[in-house]
Every structure is written in C-alpha cells, then in structure tokens.
C-alpha cells in the first residue's frame, strides 16, 4: 500500500476543511499526491487517498481519469510538453516535437535515460509566442529548434549537478 507523506496528509486535512463539500478537495489533493509519488499516480495511490479522505475510490478515480494533468505513468524528472495546436503548428510546433524526440531519444509514453518524457499537448495559452513548450511548471516561449535543444541540455545538466 502506498504511504501518503505526513506533509501531504496535513495538506489534505487542511484542504478538506476549506470546502463545503469534501469532494471539492479531490483535485487539489490529487495534485499534491502526484508530487508525493514522483509526478504520477497509480491505483495504490488512489486507494490510499480514498482511505485517508474517506471518499469512495470510484469518486476519486472518476476525477483522476478525466483530467489530463494527472499522470497515469511516470513522466520522468522533466516532462516536456510541446504545444501542437493551431498557432504553434503554423510556427513549427511539430518540428520542435520531432527534433526534441530525436535528439534526446525520447520515445512516446516512455522516460529516456536522462529522465525526460515528451508529449504533444493542446493549446497552452501562449499562442502569440509560438512555438512554445512547457517543462514541468514552466513555460518556454518563442522557441527555435536550437534554443529548445539548448534548454533541454541545460535542464539535464542542472539535474546532474544536484
């Protein structure tokens, strides 16, 4: 059984008390739980959360599966999300995705040996600075292939130093 950290337990208790219904806390709690489990959530995590929150796991699962930001498998240390919607598409979004996948040898749905995962995503609200990508919580805008490669190189290097 997955063990929820004390910090996350405290978060959940506080979060539940903030809303008029316990259910409203599911989304924020799933985000927190996801951090607890290196960025993704499995059945075990859901069961633990269900027990701790005293909410049926079917209610939690319903939410978990509906929203794309809850990861169903590991997304590594760096989840690179390249926007391939219309404005980014017109400005080379797909190329960016391809170049990064090739250069860093990242297969779809897998984590590379450097800890990189990559996804094509829908519009991230940054269309005026296309093409763009999001890595974990941060946006990188007005990219070129060279800039994007450099960025990812830097991220990988920064992780190695830690």
């Amino acid at each position: 059984m997955f063990t929820i950290s004390e910090k996350t337990k405290a978060f959940i208790t506080k979060e539940v008390s903030r809303y008029e219904t316990k259910r409203s806390a599911i989304i924020p709690c799933l985000f927190e739980l996801q951090k607890d489990n290196q960025g993704w959530i499995n059945n075990d995590c859901i069961e633990s959360l269900s027990q701790f929150m005293n909410i049926p796991s079917k209610d939690i699962n319903e939410v978990f599966h509906f929203y794309t930001m809850f990861n169903k498998q590991s997304v590594g240390n760096f989840h690179i999300q390249v926007c391939c919607n219309i404005s980014c598409h017109m400005n080379g979004g797909l190329d960016l995705f391809q170049v990064l996948s090739d250069k860093f040898n990242i297969k779809p749905q897998q984590v590379s040996k450097e800890g990189l995962a990559i996804s094509k995503v829908e519009c991230l609200g940054s269309c005026g600075t296309a093409p763009m990508m999001q890595v974990n919580e941060k946006y990188y805008e007005n990219l070129t292939k060279e800039k994007a490669i450099q960025l990812v190189n830097d991220l990988v290097a920064s992780k190695k130093q830690n």
Partner: protein, 431 residues
C-alpha cells in the same frame, strides 16, 4: 488605434503588487463602489452594455439581474480557464494586473451580494496562479478582502481553484462540476447557473476580462465607457493575435475596429511578405473568414455575426498562403475530439468522425465522398448537444470546407488519382 484602458499599466512591472497598483489609483473604484447601492452598480453595468468576454458575449448586467431573491448564498466565479485555442489574454491580465481582476471581482461581488468567490484558473497556468495567490494575500492583509471590507459592512472571501487540464472546464456548467470535485462535464441548461449553480446555489460565472472591465465602468461611468466601441458593442476589448503576423500579441482596441487595420497596422502585416489567406476571428470555434471577408469586417459582435462568424473569445488567428487549410482543420478536429467530454453521442462520435475524416483527407487515403461526409457529419452535430463544444467543432468544418472547397477536393482527388494509379499501374490524370 490601440486604446489602452484595461491594459493602461500593463508595461509597469510594479503594477503586479498592491503597492504598485495603488500608485495608479488602485482600489479607488472599490472605495467608490462601496458607497453606491449594489443595484445601482448592476444597472450601470447593464447601461454600459458590457458583454461577456469569455466567448458567448452575453450582457453581464442582464445575467446578474437573473439572480433569484431566495435568500440563498450566492457565489461568484471568475472563469480563468482560458482553453480556447488562440486565446491568451486572461493569462496576460492575471500575470500583469492581478489586482485589477481582484478589484473588479470585489465590486462585482458587492453588486450581486455574494460573500464568496472562486477564481478557476486553468491548471497549466502555474505562474499565474502564484501571482494571483500572492495578490489575494496582499488584498486580505489590507482589508480589501475578508470581513467588513474597509469598514463598509460588506464581507467577501476569495479563493483560487486550479483546473487539471480539460478544455471543457471552461464551459460554465462544466467548470462548476469541476469545482464540485467531479468530472468537468457540462449540464443541460436551464436551469442556468444564475439560478442553480455551484452546490445548487445561485452562481454568476464571468470571464477574467469581463470582471476586470467592471472597474472601468465604475471609474469612467456609463458615458465614459461607451465613448469607445459601437452602439451595440460598446467599450474596448482585448484581442489575442497569433499565427503568421509579424507582431503577434495582445492588443486592446475599441470594438468595431476594422480587422484589416489590426493585421496590417498593429501587427505589422504578414511574416516574410506572405499573402493573407484566411483569418479565424474569435478563437478556434469561430467560423473562418476568407481573405475578402477578413479585409472588410469590423471587430464587433454584430459585424462578425453578419459575416457568418463570431467574436468569441477575441482570438484572431491569422493564416497566410503557405498553410494548407486541410492540415489546419485536421489539427483543430484532433483538438475537439480530444476535448469532447463524451456525454452526448453526436459530439463524442461526431468529433471522432471529423478527426478521422480530416486526417484521412490530409493523408491522402480519402475520397471525394469523404469531403461530403465531413460536411454531413458536421451538420448533424449542430444544436443537438448539452453544450456548445459540438457546435464549436462543426463550425470550423463547415466554414473551412465551404470557403476552401477546392483545397479539400484536390486533397481528396489527388488521392483518387493515386489509388487509380496503383490499381492500374499507370498514371491517371484528371481532365
């Protein structure tokens, strides 16, 4: 051409903080509003003709007027989900002017007598969330939020709720379901949220820009607000311009400004001297305009409707002649299929068909009949579903195919030629 009213101080980094905001008359309008009668504010918003900036363009004051007087606690929700492809104005406002939004929300909450509001921010906007969170904290510390605001007797609490990556949570009833901790699936209307919204309480859902504009109406008065724009579309509006222009970005212009001026003057025209081919004038759901229509339309609710499109969320996507319309439609259909919440058969199945058909036309494995089928499916999807996402997928299909039919036919028939070639081992050329 640009008129910076909402965005007047966007370029000043200090504007993000309470201290900086106060340098530019920040929260003066709240002070003024608290001396007015709530009904008077609603009336002003009505008279000013402020229309919802989230997409549907419904008059804000009129919506507020729908709230029933049944003694139930009322909620105000700021829709900051901003998922419409092409739109990036709400993010800019939250990042640069968070207090402007908060001030507009407190005034609006006072007008509708709501003790509690939520800002539903799209999950991907981590940075905006941090900025708005900090601003809310500052506002609480200065008694601009909380109990007995500035000694007025009015109390209001505000909180942020983060989405988790679903376009459909921008639809107001989907948003409410999500806030209730459920799947973000829309509900059939009526009842409208104003009657039965969050936890079955009367709830007003308004877009970021709509709520921020309320402050301007208090400051400038009805006449002052109406100084810009047209009779039926008063005021200024933020437009997010993207695609193939030299200077993409957010521009605030009076409603009624010619689209031509936006593209060729404000945005510096097309990149690399390319030729204009088409424009989507109001976010990915709006029917596309061909060059001729784009060059003659004014950016207001009425003129766009007259030209068969809509103002939507105010996202202008400029397409030059290097693009294949077949390819762009395929990108959009992939999006709508991905984002359909799946409750209604015409939408769930229809978006799947549209995505597959546009894909096969693009890849050259379709036939001429598939172009007809594309239109047929889209026609079957209109007006038959719980929410407007289904229509939002159908509109681009119908407008793309009718206005760029040749391209679709040639993509489909290029393939007929190919199929024929492979069957007969010889080339087949169309007459």
């Amino acid at each position: 051409m640009e008129v910076k009213i909402l965005t007047q101080h966007y370029d000043k980094p200090e504007y993000q903080s309470l201290e900086g905001y106060k340098k530019y008359e920040g929260y003066q309008q709240l002070k003024k509003a608290l001396t007015l009668k709530p009904e008077a504010i609603t009336e002003m918003v009505k008279q000013a003709g402020l229309r919802g900036r989230g997409g549907a363009g419904f008059p804000a004051g009129v919506k507020w007027g729908f709230l029933p007087n049944n003694g139930k606690k009322r909620y105000l929700i700021c829709n900051a989900d901003e998922g419409e492809p092409g739109t990036f104005k709400d993010r800019a406002m939250m990042d640069r002017a968070p207090h402007q939004l908060i001030e507009g929300m407190i005034i609006s909450a006072f007008a509708i007598n709501s003790p509690k509001s939520y800002i539903y921010i799209r999950g991907e906007y981590f940075e905006s969330k941090r900025i708005v969170e900090k601003a809310i904290k500052e506002a609480y510390a200065a008694n601009l939020l909380g109990d007995n605001i500035l000694g007025s007797g009015f109390s209001h609490h505000m909180d942020i709720y983060s989405g988790a990556g679903a376009y459909i949570c921008g639809e107001e009833t989907g948003l409410i379901s999500s806030l209730e901790g459920k799947k973000g699936q829309p509900k059939l209307k009526p009842p409208f949220p104003a009657i039965e919204g969050y936890l079955a309480h009367p709830t007003i859902v308004n877009n970021v820009e709509t709520l921020a504009a309320v402050t301007i109406i208090i400051r400038d008065g009805v006449e002052g607000y109406r100084k810009y724009g047209t009779e039926k579309s008063p005021g200024t509006k933020l437009f997010s311009v993207s695609g193939n222009v030299v200077k993409p970005g957010n521009y605030e212009i009076p409603l009624g400004t010619p689209l031509k001026d936006v593209i060729f003057n404000l945005c510096g025209g097309l990149k690399q001297g390319r030729k204009l081919k088409a424009v989507i004038p109001g976010g990915s759901s709006a029917p596309v305009l061909n060059e001729e229509e784009a060059m003659s339309v004014n950016m207001d609710y009425e003129d766009l409707a007259d030209k068969g499109s809509m103002l939507g969320s105010g996202a202008i996507i400029v397409i030059d002649d290097s693009n294949s319309m077949v390819e762009l439609l395929q990108v959009l259909m992939h999006f709508y299929h991905h984002e359909s919440c799946g409750q209604c058969t015409p939408c769930r199945e229809g978006t799947g068909w549209l995505s597959k058909l546009s894909n096969s036309i693009l890849e050259g494995s379709a036939s001429l009949n598939d172009v007809k089928l594309l239109e047929k499916v889209a026609n079957h999807m209109k007006g038959k579903t719980i929410c407007a996402l289904s229509d939002a997928a159908a509109f681009p299909v119908l407008s793309f195919v009718s206005k760029f039919k040749e391209e679709f036919i040639s993509a489909a028939t290029a393939n007929v030629a190919l199929q024929f070639q492979s069957k007969n081992g010889q080339s087949y050329k169309r007459g």
